[in-house]
């Protein structure tokens, strides 16, 4: 992949996180819905073992807003990209 392709693909991912994710369906996903229906959702609430400033895909400064989700999603996408790159480099060097 050349530089232009990497930027294009990455941009597509960032756009997805920044523009589409704030408008994602607010309904619970398959497992969460069934957990609620079958009455075991509360068992997932064990209290926080770790705390992160970007918990629940929100940025505290813009708490619970679409913009907060957008910022958190963009940050996450870039973090995953960098980590993915580094891990791939680490793994491929060994083989």
């Amino acid at each position: 992949m050349n530089k232009k392709e990497i930027i294009c693909f990455l941009l597509a991912a960032v756009l997805l996180a920044a523009v589409a994710s704030p408008f994602a369906s607010p309904w619970p996903d398959g497992l969460e819905k069934i957990a609620g229906d079958k009455g075991f959702l509360h068992k997932a609430e064990t209290g926080n073992i770790i705390t992160s400033p970007l918990a629940d895909y929100n940025w505290p400064v813009l708490k619970n807003t679409r913009l907060g989700t957008s910022v958190a999603g963009t940050a996450g996408t870039i973090i995953v990209f960098i980590l993915g790159w580094c891990v791939a480099k680490l793994v491929s060097r060994k083989s």
Binding site: L10, L16, K33, K38, V80
Partner: protein
């Protein structure tokens, strides 16, 4: 392959944020296991999925630390191992680009249903839910979510085939 793993991880992470409604009151989102395996192979694909799940867990507190292992197992086993097996079988049987597309679609659907079934078994083994009831509900709902997984995976793979067909994983020694 290194840049592809980076952008693929980023894309799957972003796509997993976009929940779409499946039936009233329930949504679904991309899993990406088969998509990753088709593009970078099953082993690297499992690393991509693990990375996405780890970031969701540690940075966004989504998925849960105590269930991270089960999540990684379900999605990389169902998506990257079993999913890639089904995909590769169909790709070889049918051949050509259409084989890649059909293989991706069927494997993607199957991977989501299998991951849901594995999750039901784990919940039952943990004594959290009854096996039969949870299994029926999980497999039923995820048969629908799986259709979306198949459509999205197919669209992305077809797009990659159109612009950079060499990026589709073919054999372990392919140097990309």
């Amino acid at each position: 392959m290194i840049p592809l793993m980076g952008v693929l991880s980023a894309f799957i992470f972003a796509a997993q944020m976009v929940n779409f409604p499946v039936i009233s009151g329930t949504s679904g989102h991309l899993m990406g296991g088969v998509l990753a395996a088709v593009l970078v192979g099953p082993w690297a694909g499992a690393i991509v999925i693990t990375l996405v799940l780890a970031v969701q867990c540690f940075i966004f507190q989504d998925g849960g630390l105590t269930t991270l292992g089960a999540n990684i197992f379900n999605m990389s086993f169902a998506g990257c191992a079993a999913g890639f097996f089904v995909y590769n079988l169909l790709r070889r049987l049918i051949g050509k680009k259409i084989g890649i597309a059909i293989g991706t679609g069927i494997a993607a659907w199957m991977s989501v249903v299998l991951a849901a079934a594995l999750c039901s078994v784990e919940l039952a083994l943990s004594g959290i839910a009854s096996l039969t009831g949870t299994m029926i509900a999980m497999v039923g709902t995820h048969s629908l979510i799986g259709i979306c997984e198949a459509v999205i995976s197919c669209l992305v793979v077809n797009f990659v085939m159109a612009v950079r067909p060499d990026l589709i994983y073919t054999n372990p020694v392919a140097n990309r």
